[in-house]
Symmetry: C2
Subunit: 423 residues, 2 copies
């Protein structure tokens, strides 16, 4: 296809008429499709129904009765399991409830109210700033916004956050207390942090002695093609002389069932001690029967990985479909660029500057709900209004085919109209 | 038995020798028993094993897929179920995770960080005070201590907190922001709040416009003998023109499994709106499959009540045993008084002033772990050092028989020694 960006005004007007006709015919079909969230499809959840089975034993490996109170940091066998799966020290793991997002919120609240490492509680400071590599995960940014932190946008690069920006900022400003990271198959671009990025995060000089990395490895085992390796953030922090810098989060929400899985936070011994001192106040403990249920369904890390392959077989055709249509419709047009993730849940596209909102609105008016434009940026403000997150997992293949074809019409229409305004 | 308090010094010395001999023979038996926490016994948990069954359906009543994200305030059928069970408006209920204690902590943190009803966040105030009717629940007090609130001890009466004290304090001091209440079968005394107490709590004038009642109805269906009625705290608050005053907590932790049940918070529409605005930031939602599991095991409020009768049949003989031994050993001695609860999990005893710590230490030295003396008071300080919480549910009947007989020897020995010091 020719580069639409180079069209004459007349060619653009002609194309706009064609696209508008196409768009109107799509509108007439009264679609009602939702591509807004990274939700598993029913067919994917069906592969997890083994987790609904009767729980055969309520004894832990050491013989404790998991039906009763106790064991605040999680069953030892569950900690060992995740340790093996993720290359973490089981002693540093604390098993949480059904939501790793809640562990993150809860931990940030701890830092606000009580502080860490003998430093002032963040809530007692005039200002707290947090680095927000973007495009990123909207719910991360919602937490730091709710807590009143000032978010500083960091550009994403193909190897992770722009580390030159990060290093410069954290070295200069003690009010910068942390950074959000989704290091593998980032939401929404599917970017994997390079070894160099991980090393630099661990060793960079921070003006704040209690600077913390929120390492949300949400897609740590969600490979679509082979396995992308992720460097060990704790090794990096230790090598840099910053053993308490990282909190590492993970959950089975997109391994078994969203909202009914098991989460974890791993961190240094000193940080875990602080964490447990708070947890023992704020809860009687997390659901140990659900830990046993998870172990019964996927008894070994190997079983979990085999299960993830089955899920990938469900998901990959959806990614391929979207990527195939984007390639066919936009290659060479200059109207759209996109990422080709090797795992995770999303594909991120960039329209021409100033066209993301218009595209999302056009799609919504024609019955296809996309993630809101700007959602992947702090305060929902995409400085160039160009990023859109596509979430291909929830619709069926048929639905997805329709949704993505409509999306293409909308993105082109918005792009052509934009080009016309500058002619 | 004669009133030991009236014994002569010589009689007391003789009795001390006998008790000490008895104590030494108990010590020689090397018991290792735990009566420290309100934990269900294995035999009681066995009655709940139906909750371990395969989950037959993951569809909600309205046809939604409970395996996936969404439905932040809980399944409508679960809210209706608890509404019927507890006489609450389902619209005002939010279903939580496995821990109602965590809902309380979380809500207090909300008040500290964000405030309520347009008032200043509590964390921005110089001082926050909280009323702590005591003896009370140690983990309530641990939360308000952790958050840095100043706790004010309120005496308990047979009809609930001393409302004369409460009314006077809250009317005068705007720093007093709330009160802890376990209104039915209070922990540890088993006291039930009278209708008058509930009415006065709802209508009392508070200097703080954002004064809040933390109404932890932990034992709302945990009757041992018939059913004790509890007045409607929301009706009282509404009648008093204070519709937003109460947060009502409940959980199935001691109905099915501790740590694997379902919790709830009920509150006014305005409060629930604030609550959900925070929850939507801090979690992706609570475990809906566990809600369905609860409904599958105990499909109706009537089924739940029938189940509670079975649990009571397990627990009541333990209460009867303890009460029988206390009656036999202490009636008329003047050394010990105790409550006779009609439900809940505890029996509270008062030794002579200054004898609780000594009694608990003697028991511990002989291998029986009791709840720490003072645990039921703010900052673990029992002003008269007399209150001990007995938790009869966890040991078997045989173990309990031994533990309570040893307890009697310890309490007598401590009492007699105390009397001797004043002779």
């Amino acid at each position: 296809m020719s580069a639409i960006c180079d069209f004459s005004a007349e060619e653009l007007r002609q194309l706009e008429r064609e696209l508008d006709a196409s768009y109107q015919s799509w509108r007439a079909r009264n679609l009602k499709l939702d591509m807004s969230r990274g939700k598993p499809a029913a067919s994917q959840l069906d592969l997890c129904n083994g987790a609904l089975a009767e729980l055969k034993t309520t004894r832990t490996a050491s013989g404790a009765d998991a039906r009763n109170y106790g064991i605040l940091d999680g069953l030892p066998e569950m900690r060992e399991y995740f340790g093996k799966l993720l290359g973490l020290d089981p002693a540093n793991i604390t098993i949480g409830g059904n939501s790793s997002l809640n562990l993150m919120y809860d931990l940030l609240v701890q830092l606000v109210l009580f502080g860490t490492a003998g430093q002032k509680p963040w809530g007692k400071l005039d200002k707290v700033k947090f680095l927000a590599p973007a495009p990123g995960y909207d719910r991360h940014f919602a937490i730091t916004e709710k807590l009143g932190f000032e978010m500083i946008l960091i550009d994403m690069t193909p190897t992770g956050p722009d580390m030159d920006q990060v290093e410069k900022l954290v070295a200069a400003d003690p009010a910068i207390k942390g950074i959000w990271c989704v290091p593998l198959y980032s939401n929404p671009q599917g970017i994997c942090y390079s070894d160099e990025t991980v090393a630099r995060l661990g060793k960079m000089k921070c003006a704040a002695p209690d600077f913390r990395i929120f390492w949300d490895n949400a897609y740590g085992v969600h490979h679509l093609d082979g396995e992308t390796a992720l460097a060990d953030i704790f090794a990096s922090c230790n090598a840099g002389g910053n053993p308490d810098r990282a909190y590492y989060f993970f959950s089975t929400s997109k391994i078994t069932f969203p909202g009914a899985g098991v989460s974890l936070v791993a961190t240094s011994a000193a940080n875990k001690k602080e964490l447990l001192a708070r947890l023992t106040i704020e809860t009687i403990g997390y659901d140990k029967l659900n830990q046993l249920r998870t172990l019964q369904f996927l008894p070994t890390p190997e079983a979990l990985k085999a299960h993830m392959k089955k899920l990938a077989a469900e998901i990959k055709p959806k990614f391929d479909l979207v990527l195939g249509v984007l390639e066919k419709e936009f290659s060479g047009t200059g109207l759209l660029s996109w990422t080709v993730p090797q795992g995770g849940y999303f594909i991120a596209v960039d329209t021409l500057d100033g066209c993301a909102k218009a595209t999302v609105e056009l799609a919504a008016d024609a019955g296809v709900k996309l993630t809101g434009a700007g959602a992947a940026f702090p305060y929902h403000r995409d400085p160039r209004d160009r990023n859109i997150r596509l979430a291909p997992t929830y619709p069926t293949l048929d639905e997805l085919q329709q949704a993505i074809r409509l999306f293409c019409v909308c993105a082109k229409l918005a792009g052509v109209r934009k080009l016309l305004t500058s002619k």
